[in-house]
Structures are given as C-alpha cells and as structure tokens.
Amino acid sequence: MLLLICGRLGQILLTLALLSALCWGAMGLMPGDPIDLALTSDPLLSAADQVRLRALHGLDRPLSERYLAWAGALLAGDAGFSRLYAVRAAAVLWPAVGSTLVLLGWALALSAGLGVLLGVWGARQAAAGRAVDALAILAQSMPGFWVGILLIILFAVGLGWLPAGGTPDAPGLLDSARFLVLPVATLALGNIAGYARHALAAMQGELAAPYIRTARMKGLAEGRIAWGHAFPNAALPLLTLAALDAGSLVSGALVTETLFARPGMGKLIYDSIMGNDYNLALLALLLAGLVTMLATLAADVAQRLLDPRLAG
C-alpha cells in the first residue's frame, strides 16, 4: 500500500513537471508579452526602452532558459510576482482558493446528496428510474454557462431576488450567501445529473443481486434493504467516480466564476492566462492539477481500505 502511494506520488510530481513545461511553452506562443502590453498603455516608451526592458526582465532570453530559472525558483519556494496584481503570486492565490473551496464545497455537497437520493429513488421504482435517467441526460446536455445565464435571467433580471454576479460590498454572512446561491446552483445542476446516473446504474446493479432476494425473503422493509444492504455496496464505485469528477469540478468553477465575476481560482486562471501573467497562471494551474490528482489518489486508497476484496 505504501509502495502504491509512493509510486503514485512520484507519478504526480512527474506529471506536474511535464504540465508546467507544456504550459510554459504554450504561454510563450501566446500573442504579445508583458512588454508589448506596457507599450500599448504608454506611448512614450521608445524602441530602445523596449529592448532595455526586455533585457531587464529577462524576456530576451530563450524560452527554455526562462523556464528552468522559473522552475528552480519555484523549487526553492519562490513563485515570483503576479504581473496583473503587482504582489507575490501566492498572495493572490490563497484568498482565491478559499473562495473557490466554498463554492465547490456547497456545489459538491448539494449535487452528491441530491444525486444519490435521486439515483436510489430511481432504482427502487422503474417509472421514477426512467424519469431520472431522461432528466439527467437533458441536464448533462446543457452547457454549464447557459444554465447560469438562464438562472441570471430568471432570478436576477426577471424576479430581481438575487444578484447577477460579483461579490458583496460589506462582508456579512447573509450577503455572502445571497451572492453564492446562483453560482452554487449553476455548478450543482450539471453535476447532480452525473451523480444521479452513476447512482442509478450502481443501485440497479446491486438490487438485482441474489442477496437482495434473501433480504426480502427474511422480511426486511424495502427502505432497510435499499439503504442498509444495497447502498453500502453501491457507494464504493460511486466514490471513485466522484473523485474522477474533481477535474470537471475545477473546469466548472472556471466557467461559473467567470460568468458570475467571482474572484476564485477558476477566474484567476482565466484572467492570468488572458493577461500574460505567467507566474500566477502557472502556479494556479499546477495547484489545480495537484488537487485533482490527489483526489483521484485518495479515492483509490480509500477504495482499497474499504473494499476487503482489494485490501487483501
């Protein structure tokens, strides 16, 4: 088990190294560099200044040399400065991570809870199962940002109950909650469908197993059979699927935060890529990659610990 974890951790580190090199290369190929941007905002800069500035910031060096310098500094614990915010990249990142964790936490709890409830309900009644399946296909076919736009039109424009995006002016629990409702609903709606379909399939498989007939024969109540006998067995594969969804949650956060103008990780990644803020973009991308891969690893470990067939 320890060997497995160490091997996987090594793999994760290797992936992150490759990922950072790939992203660095891609960013070098994006249109414009920070000096071009400075040039457009300050017409007094001459061509000679431009060359001097490039040399000062090391932007005249080849891409590979700049990458190695960046990677060395990162390994020494220095992630550099953010170009957009003019402070250390880490100082911008951590508050954004907090905001995204709140968003993802609520969305995950809501979608996993409701998804499992819908899936179990659908597996116990054939008609409900067909309805859940059809609705889930419909919900999975909607792009997340469109759901968000529709929610904004309905609740912010039409009814005027909730804000269309942004963050509250004064930090208060009630206000923060009001700004959180629509983003969480947007993110959760797409994910409920996935969890419901997985839970439905897993529960249908378990309920068809012979041990369920035994439980019925000894006179157990249907609710007890579904939740006490079938669900624990169906829950294990669901755990793996939920961990695999970690990546899509981060993707969803990018769209949702951009749409609702919430200052989180996803919007930070998007803004920093668009703004040539290499240091911040790479740090955020690596963190997002690390978290999703650790989630997959954690699910694998949990599966091995919980499933006696794999533990042996």
Binding site: A164, A246, L254
Partner: protein
C-alpha cells in the same frame, strides 16, 4: 427508441445547417450585416426569431452557427476516433510497459482539469507556426485539433478494452496459425469486431466536443466573431441579458439538442 430519437435530433440539426443558404435567400438578409435601426427586434415575418444587439437576424446566425458547431463536432469525431483507435489497438497489442505507459497517460489526462488546459492551448497564437488566423475555417481546425488532444482518451480506453477481449478469442489464434501478420490480425480481424464500442465512444466524443467548443467560444477563445457559433452567440447574449433576455435562449437550446442527440445515440448504440 433512444437510437432513433438521437438520430432524428442530429439529422434534423444537420438538415437545418445544410438549409441555411436557402433560408438566407428566403429571408433576403444575411447573418453578417448589421442593421442598427432594428436592434433587439421581436419576432416578425422578416426575422422569425428577432434580431441581436447589432440588428442581425438570430435565426440565420443560429443556422450558420450550426454549420460551425457541427463541423467542429464532426472533425473531432474523426480525429479522436482515428487517434484513439490507433492508440487503443497499439496498447492492447503491445502489452507490457508500452500498454502501461499509454494507459497512465490516458488516466492522467482524465484526472487533470480539462478546461483550464484547453484555455491555455486555445490562447496560443497559431500565427507563429505560419498558420492562418482569423477566418472561420482556421478557427474550426484549431479548436478541433485542441479538442482531439483531449478527446482521444475515451475512445482509446474503450478500444483497448474491446480489443483485449477480442484478442483472447479462438478465432484470433486461428488467424495467427493460418499465418496472418500482426497488422492483418489487428486491422482485418480485431477492428471490425470492436466497431460497436468505438461508435459509442465516438458519439460521446462528439457530445463532449460540442460542449467544449461552445464553452471556449463563450470564453472568447473559440470561434471568433463575426463568424457565428452557438458559443459566441451566447457570449454576446450574456452581456445583453437585461436588454434582450430571449437572445440567450435559442443558441443554448440548439447546443442542448445537439448534445442530447449525441448522448441518446451513444446510449442507444450501447443497448443494442
């Protein structure tokens, strides 16, 4: 039932996309010319779905956008199926460390957050490789290439699993005894027998591609205006939610129908 519903949805959208020039001739306007005197017009006979923020006909833009979105879907289907099948068959045939390496690569791509990486790749200036930038066809090819880089994974995993199951069958051994080369065994015997799972994976790849293209275009990194795509129509509609809430309805509905069509098709194929 699912199969036919999916085929009907996709067929209907395909016909609508093909009919776009005729509808244009019928309405007597084109999807690119702004008409600032008739912005945000409601549905009329001349503009069945109304006009957008520049006074362009929404129905026409929707139909021409269907060509773009479906073209991306088809291109990704072709590319992802080709690359995925090749990698899947190679992994199944080679076994050992090559199989392990390819499958770890697939797992890693699945575990990573796809959209942030797609944004990074989509922001690359393809002009630096001497590729044309700006016209719709170049955009379609650019987006399709990026999406294939992620889309092959699902196809490859299914192809590998199906190929492994076939390779253990007796008829493969018989073919080898009869002196068939390994390439002939894979392409002539294994490939035709795994077409079913491949079709399912391809349909799912198309669904994913249409969703991803619309998301990238919505973020301003996909198909560039003025060429219409369902995603960039929604991007401008989002800025106009207060002025014209209905403009956000149609492109999303079109995406919904296309993706649901692909998903139903995949489900139907799987159950056969």
């Amino acid at each position: 039932m699912r199969l036919w519903l999916g085929l009907a949805l996709l067929g209907g959208l395909g016909l609508a996309a093909m009919a776009a020039p005729w509808v244009q001739a019928l309405l007597g306007t084109d999807p690119a010319t702004p008409d600032l005197f008739h912005r945000f017009a409601g549905p009329t006979l001349a503009h069945p779905l109304g006009t957008d923020e520049l006074g362009r006909d929404i129905l026409l833009r929707l139909l021409f956008g269907a060509r773009v979105s479906l073209a991306v879907g088809l291109a990704v289907a072709l590319g992802a199926t080709l690359v995925g099948t090749l990698i899947g068959l190679t992994a199944a045939r080679a076994g050992g460390w090559r199989d392990a390496l390819l499958m770890r690569l697939a797992d890693t791509l699945l575990a990573l957050p796809a959209l942030p990486l797609l944004v990074v790749l989509a922001a690359v200036d393809t002009g630096r490789f001497g590729l044309p930038r700006g016209d719709a066809l170049a955009d379609i090819l650019r987006i399709a290439t990026i999406l294939v880089a992620f889309g092959w994974v699902g196809v490859a995993r299914l192809a590998r699993a199906a190929a492994l199951a076939e390779l253990s069958r007796d008829y493969i051994a018989a073919a080898r005894i009869a002196g068939a080369t390994e390439a002939r065994v894979m392409l002539r015997h294994v490939l035709p027998n795994i077409v079913g799972p491949l079709a399912v994976a391809t349909a799912l790849a198309v669904a994913g591609a249409i969703l991803a293209e619309s998301t990238l275009s919505f973020l301003g990194l996909g198909i560039q205006p003025p060429a219409p795509s369902w995603g960039n129509m929604l991007s401008s509609a989002q800025e106009m939610v207060f002025a014209a809430p209905l403009a956000a309805l149609w492109p999303g509905l079109a995406i919904l129908l296309a993706v649901a069509g692909c998903t139903l098709l995949a489900d139907g194929l799987r159950r056969r």
